[in-house]
Point group: D2
Chain length 397, copies 4
């Protein structure tokens, strides 16, 4: 009996084009592949401090960042527990699977949650948010919670416009942003954009395995924390601030910080703005392919607003009567390419191409080539030539 | 600038004799050093199922095991949130740093916590627990919570005696055990011993990095869960049971399960009972050394009850006027051996030798040799010849 | 100063489409990443024996295989030193860079080498070889030495036809084959095809790093060895046969055998014949692309004989006035894809695409996409649509 | 069926105290665990050049270093082939297993070899060498070949005294030194000591896996090379000098150079002279233990000359009627410690403790503790307390 079953053998590398977790560079994996060290030792503390400093640079913040051993869901729970009190009202526009889950979580934790429903294919209606904020003259709304990039739909939201809506209304609500699938891939500037709490994870643009999540907070958010009375212990920021690491409850994992130090090095060697441009360029190549495929009444962009199409994930809508899972299955079983499924209500109705993290042209073209073959083998209507269009775009002088 | 600072260079391997996290076998590290896979893929699900089945075998249970991306503290929070309602009364004898923290956590989460104080050098008074249970004819106590092996003091508690106390009183309270520093090192049999909820982590006897923690539950505990009304989302068992993995909220980490499969293979190849015997044998060798060193009014066992001296960690008490940190510092800075510090009230008053996980005679003798040198260099009173006694014991025909 | 210079950072994976060394599966790399073991220990010997047995199965031989710490050039030197005496005459048709080098080596070692020149674009003329053998009624020719697959030209030779030529002439010469870039990729059957000595290396179809090379020998070759008087020590087979490992002089490296055991497992899980078919299929997809590109007086196949186009490497001829290095440079510098250069007289006149080892459709399409972009960016005449043709072929039901 | 058999499971780390190959630091292993790169790419060439420059610094030479894919035996063959012509006379004092093998090799390659026999327990008689050189007024001796540190006997030779003997005689012979088990462990200064050719390997003081070997040469040796007519191709220096890498014939392995860069970094971070001192200190601790054990007519130093006891390996002589293999077997089978065997005529008569490479006090004390237990379990006469003596020495303020 082997750790990996013989059935698992497919030749060549798995192309991981599932929108998160994402491709981990070999040098990050190697940096994490190391024996145990005392997390209180001076050696580790130096690595830890440098890694966390790098994380802050990438977030464009100088404030506190609380890091947890948890998934992104844990970071959301932490953020809500540490900022609010039972019965507090928050505005959390629902525009996809993940914003819906965060709303359910907030209710379970005892908050009053306003969830204006948005067209999932277009994302939150910022005008409506602005109106709601302007109408809330009593300032009952304690926070606006926005998913920067909805991984389930491939819709990205212009966060500065949310900030502008708050400012226009002179509304003191906190602005919370989920950057789980945007951070490290799509432009994000915490301080400049006036974000009070940023929820992020290790497993996407940071190119690390799943296992760490974090909240970066503004001074204003820290002040709100001091008043927050939701029950908490594991995720409690006050307790964390009393530790040397200013993060975590319990054992501090060491390997991810060696990995983070390396991923920060990789990102900063390339340049964070160059990383964003690369993501845009590869996303645009993907969109060129999808545009071609969408001929002949075939597959289509799920995101109906071209200006909001995400640079880290593209959701592709299946034509009526066709199942996205059939495409995924062929891509995975026959060609060793892992695409993203439609989540929950979108199950079977879309499939998703992740184009985030440690990605380049050859990796993307391989993925797009397999998608084109899988569409054909699954007899899904589409026009041929999508990969050609991507090559045309990427290979332009 | 390198990931590791030049200052970190000490020749040879670090000996990690800090009682948890613990030594990770190379084959476990390599098994975890792998690219991203879809955690919903059939390939991964097969690995996952086999790893979890192995974990259950090692726990000697056939019930549910809920696994979290969290530290052991998270698993404690999960266990309390999922089993109790606000105001529920629990009995949690305080006998060391960790039981004290669990009590504080339970209070923070809204429980009524009875914490009879015990002599930290002896551990909980089981007679007193039996009396308290017998007196609780109204069955107000919903649970007895015991730390099987107090990592901070090196005191192990005979869990079957706690079970017997409950049975003798005919008391229906749940029995919760923290096995974080015993599981995989010291005999533990969940079903036979009638434990209702077992809190454990990845980073000790399982020989994995920190990052996963879990609760194994009995049928009775699951029934209690159905009535429990403490606020929860991230750690909610009901939501977990609805997932394919029957664990986790959010992204399921993949690497630890390849590691777990390998660590289960290593433990079962050796034999879990052989693993326990090995821990006993190496612990006994450590005790032989400490016994010698404790001559000349020198260092002493922190655990005053020889029958309760732990097979996974030994806490060594400093003579008056001597600081355990001085010993640790010499061991680490000069000899690259990482010992455990005294926690909180024991800071400086003890140092600890972890002898758990992937350990053998040569590793232990190297550690004991360095401890003996560090005692001498720190001018701590002790009798010479501790290592010799360990060799005498381990090398007996 | 870091082990890797910052300048080395290109995002995403390097696509290694250089015809050897080749892509190493992660599981092979991890298997090799291990601490030192005594190469005489029973544990290692078991791994070694199983790995070598697997190597023999893949070679379709039951005879001796001598393994060296050396490159493929060393294995050639070993083979010549162990089979011949000063002044022996061998027939070694020159049809590419490597056959030319082997000829020079044989002369340097003191052999009489007949090197009938062949058209490099077509490979050895088997009819001429047959004639020469028939004419050699005195049997002065001690061996016919053939490169199965010329890595420099992408021309593969039908070895059974060489065997038939020897048989037809009733000629007792040994038949030596260089399978360095064919073994593990292209059908090869040592015993059935009557090959007396097979020279191979670790770094191509075996999907291991460079560092090991070997000669597999027939009984007839072993008999010849007994008479061979060329000077030798490091590569001496007689000395090797006296060792437990029946290979090597000096320290036996351990890591490659853990890697070999894993690569044998991977190949046999897929099935060696399935591996050959996969290579054929991916090579054919490459050829479809090249066929399209060769329109418009553009690039062309270097191998002029369609029946001899290699399934492991395709050499692409540049149009007059264009430099293959420009294509390679763009592919590497801009797109992180490593193509093969033209060797020696072919420098700049061809570039080569390796399609061997651990390769799948997505990897190949990524490579071909980049080649198409690089041709365009280098302004090399070609017709567009090569990748499309490859997709058309690979995605056919 | 797994790559490693279940039988292989022994808990804890293997202590590798076999005198070469040696312990490889984890960071070196990780640096080598990487995908294939083009060995002609600028990225690799930069790493290569820096690694080779580091190697030269450690050798204290600025001359050429020729590197081979081979074991140390290959480097010896290379050195002889490139420096001499058939019939050349060399002086190669025989004082152990390895010098005996080099002599046999030189004869097999066609040289006239003078091998004055020395007492293996004392090493070459430098006075006799001086006399022989003085007597050779015709300068028929082309080279004096010395093993700096005989791995088989644990005897180290003062190379400067050999140099002095040549100088005293005004003899122009080349001075060749085998530093395979001394380089990186014991003081060695190529230029200062007037060594003309230095044979070394990767797998000992350089803390790399076996697989690379090298010869560093002086200007005088390069001049001799120009006249050398021994047959060669694979190891030919002239051909190597024509390559970009100035080393190797055939494929250049890439992984070892990433490893070498890291091992040079580790050595230079510690400081090469500090590395030598550490080896001396750990060797001295070993000798303290052996001195104690040698009481009671027990085991003894094989090296009879205290001044020549090696700082990288100690050979321990068994009392009459006792078999060193029994000690080794117990250490390995029962305690997972790998000791060195007696080679050839010394088989069973000695066992050896390697104390070279990436070693520290805890590792050595663990090894010595196991040796003491194994001596006892094998009922080999010895006095107890060896480890205690080592602790006494190493733990002195």
């Amino acid at each position: 009996m082997t750790p990996e079953s013989p059935a698992a053998r497919k030749p060549g590398r798995l192309f991981f084009a599932n929108p998160g977790p994402t491709n981990i560079p070999d040098s990050v994996l190697r940096a994490m592949d190391r024996p145990t060290t005392d997390f209180m030792s001076a050696d580790f503390i130096e690595v830890y401090d440098r890694a966390v400093a790098g994380l802050k640079r990438l977030l464009f913040t100088t404030g506190e960042v609380f890091i947890y051993t948890s998934s992104g869901h844990g970071a959301w729970e932490a953020t809500l527990q540490n900022l609010f009190s039972p019965g507090d009202r928050i505005l959390m526009p629902e525009a996809g699977y993940f914003s819906r889950v965060w709303g359910a979580m907030a209710r379970a934790l005892g908050l009053e949650v306003e969830m204006p429903e948005a067209d999932w294919r277009r994302g939150p209606d910022i005008g409506a948010i602005a109106e709601r904020l302007a109408a809330d003259t009593a300032h009952e709304i304690k926070a606006v919670c926005i998913v920067h990039n909805e991984t389930s739909t491939g819709v990205a939201v212009p966060l500065p416009e949310i900030r502008a809506a708050l400012d226009a209304a002179g509304h003191p609500a906190l602005l919370l942003a989920d950057t789980i699938s945007s951070f490290g891939s799509i432009e994000f500037r915490m301080a400049d954009w006036g974000i009070d709490a940023v929820v992020g994870g290790s497993q996407k643009g940071l190119m690390l395995p799943a296992g760490l999540a974090f909240t970066a907070v503004s001074e204003k958010a820290l002040a709100a924390h001091a008043q927050a009375r939701l029950t908490r212990f594991y995720f409690d920021w006050t307790r964390m601030m009393a530790r040397r690491h200013r993060s975590f409850t319990g054992t501090v994992p060491i390997a991810p910080f060696y990995g983070l130090l390396e991923s920060v090095r990789l990102i900063e060697t390339e340049g964070i703005e160059a990383v964003w441009r690369r993501h845009h360029r590869l996303a645009e190549a993907t969109r060129r392919a999808v545009s071609v495929w969408s001929g002949n009444q075939g597959v289509a962009f799920y995101c109906a607003d071209p200006a909001r199409r995400s640079d880290s994930v593209t959701a592709i809508r299946m034509p009526e009567g066709h199942d996205g899972e059939a495409v995924r299955r062929i891509a995975y079983d026959r060609f060793n390419v892992s695409l993203g499924a439609g989540l929950d209500p979108l199950g079977g109705k879309v499939f998703r191409i992740g184009h985030m993290g440690d990605l380049n042209e050859a990796m993307l073209l391989g993925t797009l080539g397999v998608v084109e073959m899988a569409l054909r083998l699954a007899r899904v209507p589409h026009a041929r030539g999508g990969v050609d269009a991507a090559i045309e775009y990427l290979g332009a002088g």
